[in-house]
Symmetry: C2
Subunit: 388 residues, 2 copies
């Protein structure tokens, strides 16, 4: 194989962007096919994509024809695990859009299937892992510069969405359609980066989700989640779609100081002496370890984003390049959001790993009892340039 032939399943909002990228911007990759159950979206493909790109109206057709080497799944969230399992079993490399799915039970099955196919690559579109800011943050933590972590506070409240946005698709912001709100649609990247950069998952979660607080929707649009880690560290994740202008500020405290990622910059307030050592040796009354404000150099660009993941996935298939975002890791961020719902629904602590069966039961109940009727509105693809 000299070039990877991709088939995109789902050419709605995100899929169209990926299709355009694969038309020449990704080395050693080509767009061979698209697949969508919507006639309207296939028509878009017919008008906008080269003639050579095959069009399928069902994934089964695509899987049967063997015209592609890899599939990129950018359907609604619920279908990610199901389609990934089918594609893997049909012998295709699989790259899924985020989130990995809606509930961990299905995602675990997907991961098990992937594990049974070590000959196939399995990736997830965690394009923010290509962002130099978070790569640098992770590197500073993994290399020990920050010391043992004590606190991780992410305020990510700049996902502003209006009621009209929610009205733009009948499936949007419903338990049955998306399976969640801001945590499932807007936050998957941050939920991934929160644990990927620090290299730790919490051991328990106490969250406070507010459902339809700012918008006329049945899912959450405001969340505060408190977590505790095995090593005693604590963390917060604060998010909403209802505030403007909102904030995106990730602060991590460790034995060697504090790192803040905000406004595209990474600042490391570095202690000259680790706090634990200073504390052990200090003999005065009031005193603080000497602290240097260090502006850490980070490329100003956002990184290669979606294209970076596509390039990496392509080279992984062709030359066994290590995956930046292995598909199996999608379960981490989803576990965090599932735990946040479960904690809110039960008004109690949730230990990790979560009870996947219990979560699935409760979600099924929400879908069954949903009486949410949204204002009728065209189910159209929104322009998503500039979103992630």
């Amino acid at each position: 194989m000299t070039a990877v032939r991709y088939g995109i399943i789902g050419v709605g909002n995100m899929g169209r962007g990926h299709a355009i990228s694969l038309l020449g911007e990704i080395k050693d990759a080509e767009l061979a096919a698209v697949c969508d159950i919507s006639a309207e979206r296939l028509e878009w493909a017919e008008v906008n994509l080269p003639e050579g790109v095959k069009r399928y109206s069902s994934p089964e057709e695509l899987f049967a024809e063997k015209t592609v080497d890899a599939v990129l799944i950018s359907t609604p969230h619920y279908d990610h695990p199901t389609l990934a399992i089918e594609a893997l079993n049909a012998g295709y490399h699989v790259l899924i859009e985020k989130p990995a799915g809606v509930y961990t039970k299905a995602v675990q099955e997907m991961n098990d299937t992937a594990a049974a196919h070590p000959e196939l690559k399995f990736g997830i579109m965690y394009n923010q892992r290509t962002n130099p800011l978070y790569q640098k943050l992770r590197e500073l933590i993994q290399s020990g510069e920050l010391g043992e972590i004590r606190r991780t506070n992410w305020i990510i409240t700049d996902w502003y969405r209006t009621q009209n946005y929610y009205n733009s698709g009948g499936w949007r912001a419903t338990w049955g359609g998306e399976g969640g709100g801001v945590l499932l649609n807007q936050d998957p990247h941050q939920l991934d980066l929160w644990q990927w950069t620090i290299g730790m998952m919490p051991k328990r979660v106490r969250a406070f989700c507010h459902f339809g607080k700012y918008r006329n929707i049945e899912v959450e649009d405001d969340v505060t989640a408190y977590v505790e880690y095995e090593n005693g560290a604590t963390g917060l994740f604060i998010t909403t779609t209802g505030e403007a202008p909102g904030t995106n500020r990730f602060e991590i405290n460790g034995d060697n100081g504090k790192i803040v990622v905000e406004n595209g910059s990474l600042t490391f307030w570095r202690l000259r002496t680790p706090e634990s050592k200073f504390n052990a040796e200090f003999t005065g009354g009031f005193g603080n370890p000497e602290c240097w404000k260090c502006e850490i150099p980070v490329e100003k660009a956002d990184g290669d984003q979606h294209k970076g993941i596509l390039r990496n996935f392509t080279q992984a298939i062709l030359h066994d390049e290590p995956l930046l975002a292995p598909g199996e890791e999608g379960i981490h961020g989803l576990t965090l959001s599932n735990a946040m719902y479960l904690s809110s629904w039960t008004d109690n602590w949730v230990d990790l790993p979560i009870d996947a069966e219990l979560f699935h039961e409760k979600l099924t109940e929400k879908i069954k009892n949903s009486t949410f009727q949204k204002e009728a509105s065209e189910d159209k693809a929104l322009e998503v340039r500039g979103t992630h």
Copy 2:
């Protein structure tokens, strides 16, 4: 009366500073007496204060002699309500140091006594209410500039204290001696400002206090508290003495944008159209209200601090000037910290106003069961210049 004669009860850390201030820096005020049960501290007064300043070894003596018009109570926290009640009943104006006390049951009795003596002024040393930053913040909120409040997040983790600090007094950081840790000793100002600036108390609290997490103490040195307000707004209060360099960042979100108080500056990200109006009228897919970053002018000084409160209290007595920090308001901040303990001890929500009897019972139990023995260390007065 042309000048107010003050008697200071307790000339430890804070009392000494107040004594110096009253020796001429406060218009229409004079230092007439000091009182302390410690011979060593009275000796300090004999050496350092003018001969005319009377010295008493018990509050009862001071109260009996009628050589002062007002008393300033700067004893350990537990004694504030008891002494204030005695002083009010003996006919003296009363200014207490923060916190108002250790448990609200006693503070409510103090407030009831003050209410029974409308002829006497009753104040609390909330000197941070003189800080131009927080005065301006309060004014922007009270005047409606920010619109209805949605979120109040205060990260106040820059109260770094070493083990040696805690070892400097046997009473420090014990249930019996101080009645708490960072919330009782370091945070009373922020707990006051948190509700004073926004003009709202929460309706319920869910807090996560960690006791002796970073230091060998029996009280809390790390706290994350989540609150909900009657109007649906949420808030966070995050504090510790165990981190360096820590953060002091107060972010308040409202219908008209966001205010951040950090690094001595007040920034107002002001929406040109209120969010609620923008949301109601927006007909596109993705979009945000136009936002202006406004640097709000604030005097760079810290304000008059303790001296400002002393001046204001003096003029209140002489000329009925309105009190900046009425003593009765001390119960608000204390209610918040009491609620945080109660929530942690019961691992559950706490509704406000709290069950004052229950809190007192639980605190008494903590004191009774305390087996905490600190390393023997001299009970000396620490130099507190530069602290608040």
